[in-house]
């Protein structure tokens, strides 16, 4: 996976081996870098919103420890031989882990004509990238769960080891589409190679999951369908990586569904509509991970601070560039309603 993303100066390693973390030191460093990069990007997006350089923010700070490994484990490319991602609006870390440039997110925030995902049409965090099988992220909750079995079906037919991944939040599992996904993924003899993920931050906007969800574990909902399931601490990057690796391996080789619930944080609350301020009491997966890295002798504080500073600078510069980019033209509303044959 090291060919992904532009090559950059590597932070210095304190020791040759991470101790007790269970995975390769280089990967740990790489994941740390991506998590920080994603966090810095989201914080910049929030800043842009607060400075009036964007109208709405929603994103994924608090999900990096889960979403980075997810992106790293994906097989990137176009078509059924590669993995499809049907994500939701907290997916930035996955995109960055796949190698996406952060500037696109800034452009979408600023709704410029250069926004690579929607040309100024859609909200921040609504990625799409057909070249990498990234399905368009849409605002309506849970619809991706009704769509995802379609790409998985094509992959089952195609053979190979490409799989489909679908993600969404906990509250959204109350929509029937979540159940549709379970039904369509587990038809007898036609089981689909699909990794069904729920990132559980225990909230839907202002509504606590505990008041609405009778299911003790959302992963249990797969059991009636004979599906493999797991519930993981999505704030633990190592644990998430290992659990995802196992799930990816199972789905890739067995061509059968797997339902995974990941407990995550919502560090800045729901969205800019709820203020986009730090929420006290939520576990910060980067802080936790950095303690581990330091304790394990993988990276020292200075190196980690340096990573953050580097991304802050780089993404900050990108944001300044974006500031002067043009708005889309009024008549562009008529573009791309249909694809016409070339």
């Amino acid at each position: 996976m090291s060919e992904r993303g532009p090559s950059r100066p590597r932070p210095q390693l304190v020791r040759a081996e991470g101790e007790g973390l269970g995975i390769d030191r280089e990967l740990l460093v790489r994941m740390h870098e991506l998590m920080v990069k994603a966090r810095v990007l989201e914080e910049r997006l929030i800043q842009m919103y607060k400075a009036g350089h964007g109208y709405f923010w929603i994103g994924g700070p608090g999900e990096e420890a889960f979403n980075v490994p997810l992106g790293l484990l994906m097989k990137r490319g176009q078509g059924p031989a590669y993995d499809y991602l049907h994500g939701h609006y907290r997916q930035s870390a996955t995109l960055l882990a796949l190698g996406e440039e952060p500037v696109g997110a800034l452009r979408q925030m600023k709704n410029t004509a250069t926004d690579p995902y929607s040309a100024g049409r859609n909200f921040a965090g609504h990625f799409t990238k057909r070249a990498w099988n990234i399905a368009p992220i849409t605002s309506p909750i849970e619809v991706q769960y009704a769509i995802a079995p379609g790409t998985a079906m094509a992959q089952k037919r195609f053979g190979g080891d490409g799989i489909t991944i679908v993600t969404g939040g906990d509250a959204g599992t109350a929509e029937g589409d979540f159940a549709s996904c379970l039904v369509w993924s587990s038809r007898p003899g036609q089981e689909l190679p699909i990794l069904i993920i729920v990132t559980n931050n225990h909230w839907g906007i202002s509504t606590a999951a505990a008041t609405q969800q009778g299911a003790k574990s959302l992963a249990d909902r797969g059991k009636a369908f004979g599906m493999r399931t797991a519930s993981v601490d999505g704030n633990d990057v190592v644990g998430s990586y290992l659990a995802l690796k196992e799930a990816f391996g199972y789905v890739r080789s067995e061509r059968k569904p797997f339902l995974m619930e990941a407990m995550v944080s919502r560090l800045y609350g729901h969205s800019s509509a709820s203020g986009a301020n730090p929420v006290p009491g939520e576990v910060d997966c980067i802080a936790t991970f950095e303690e581990q890295l330091e304790k394990g002798g993988i990276l020292n504080r200075a190196a980690m601070v340096q990573v953050r500073e580097r991304w802050t600078k780089e993404i900050g510069e990108a944001a300044r560039r974006v500031r002067d980019e043009p708005m889309p033209a009024p008549e562009s509303i008529w573009n791309n309603i249909y694809k016409e044959r070339s």
Partner: protein, 351 residues
């Protein structure tokens, strides 16, 4: 003066106390938030539902069947489109059972553009809704009408759809809600939830009085003789502004606020068009198979020989969404300048 969100909230409070409303519910409708537009803060029967629009409409129907009077909210009408079958059933239940069952329920949902809501917080729902039989459909353009229409909706024994022009929810009215305190800061202190921890907060409701705007009755907002402008919701104040500005140029546009989309006040439209001979219908839904086209068709059908110029429709462009960037929204939805121009050109037209 109260804004529209406060007016809705006061109406629901009045309805809980006096009209038998038992449930005000939907996503984030109950404490602590009280609705994404604050329209349900502090209501004693407000509660949060699972994130499931089909469940919300279904449960409202079930509650109505069991003698309750629910007001269900769909957080944005953009998210109502997976429930159209249930809305159709709510609308056809009385007819299908030949009157055995009726469903006294209100569905409220914010509609329209104007808050930079991008693709999924800008939808209009009037075209889709008016094609569903068996509902009554209302859409206020002022806080007072919101209050009066909500009271009528809550009192009705049939499903009523209450469309809230979201860009107007925070706009204050010109006329007081009967019972609201004269000082609007006093009102806010009484009924707006505080920032921060709200767990101990309770509203202090003013002594509200009944005020019913009958469903099916339009409001003549501005008299005129040159032409008629028929609109509702967020477009209405823009029409009024355009008409006011054009008055200086000698164009005297009559402006009608339809307020009820179904049943609608045909007499009000007819009388006006018979007087002016010209009519412009304005709404912000996309313009293909649009409710304004129905009004225009009926005008042609019944008043063709009274027309001095072709009746006109000004509506949203038929594009798949309303883009976030300002130039996109402005190009997609009628703006003040578009309305002004449409009135001016219709006024100038000679048959």
């Amino acid at each position: 003066m109260a804004n529209m969100a406060q007016a809705v909230r006061m109406a629901l409070h009045y309805a809980e106390e006096n009209l038998g409303v038992t449930d005000v519910f939907g996503e984030d409708v109950g404490p602590p938030l009280g609705g994404v537009f604050t329209a349900t803060q502090g209501l004693k029967t407000a509660w949060n539902s699972p994130l499931d629009e089909r469940g919300i409409i279904g449960v409202a129907m079930g509650l109505a069947m069991a003698g309750q009077r629910p007001v269900a909210e769909i957080q944005f009408c953009d998210y109502i489109y997976n429930t159209i079958d249930l809305l159709k059933i709510a609308g056809n239940t009385c007819w299908c059972t030949n009157g055995d069952w009726n469903l006294p329920m209100v569905v409220k949902t914010p509609v329209g553009s104007g808050i930079r809501g991008s693709i999924y917080h800008s939808h209009s729902f009037d075209a889709t809704a008016t094609h569903i039989p068996g509902w009554k459909i209302v859409m206020p353009s002022t806080p007072l009408d919101a209050y009066g229409l909500m009271l009528s909706a809550c009192q009705d024994d049939n499903p009523v759809l209450f469309l809230e022009p979201k860009a107007l929810l925070r706009i204050k009215g010109d006329e007081p809600i009967p019972g609201e305190p004269a000082d609007e800061r006093a009102l806010s202190k009484m009924i707006d939830a505080p920032l921060g921890d709200r767990s101990a907060w309770k509203p202090d409701w003013p002594a509200l009085e009944p005020y019913f705007v009958p469903i099916g009755k339009a409001r003549l907002v501005r008299e005129g003789t040159t032409l008629s402008v028929v609109s509702y919701g967020r477009m209405l104040p823009l029409c009024v502004r355009a008409a006011a500005a054009l008055a200086e140029t000698g164009i005297r546009a009559e402006v009608i606020d339809l307020r009820s989309l179904w049943p609608y006040d045909w007499e009000a439209i007819r009388d006006s068009v018979e007087k002016t001979g010209k009519v412009l219908f304005v709404n912000e839904d996309t313009e293909v198979t649009n409710f304004g086209e129905h009004l225009l068709r009926r005008t042609v059908e019944e008043l063709f020989y009274r027309l001095l110029a072709p009746p006109r429709l000004l509506a949203g462009k038929f594009v798949p969404g309303i883009g976030l960037a300002d130039p996109l929204e402005a190009a997609s939805v009628p703006q003040l300048s578009d309305i002004t121009e449409a009135i001016r050109s219709l006024a100038a037209e000679q048959a």
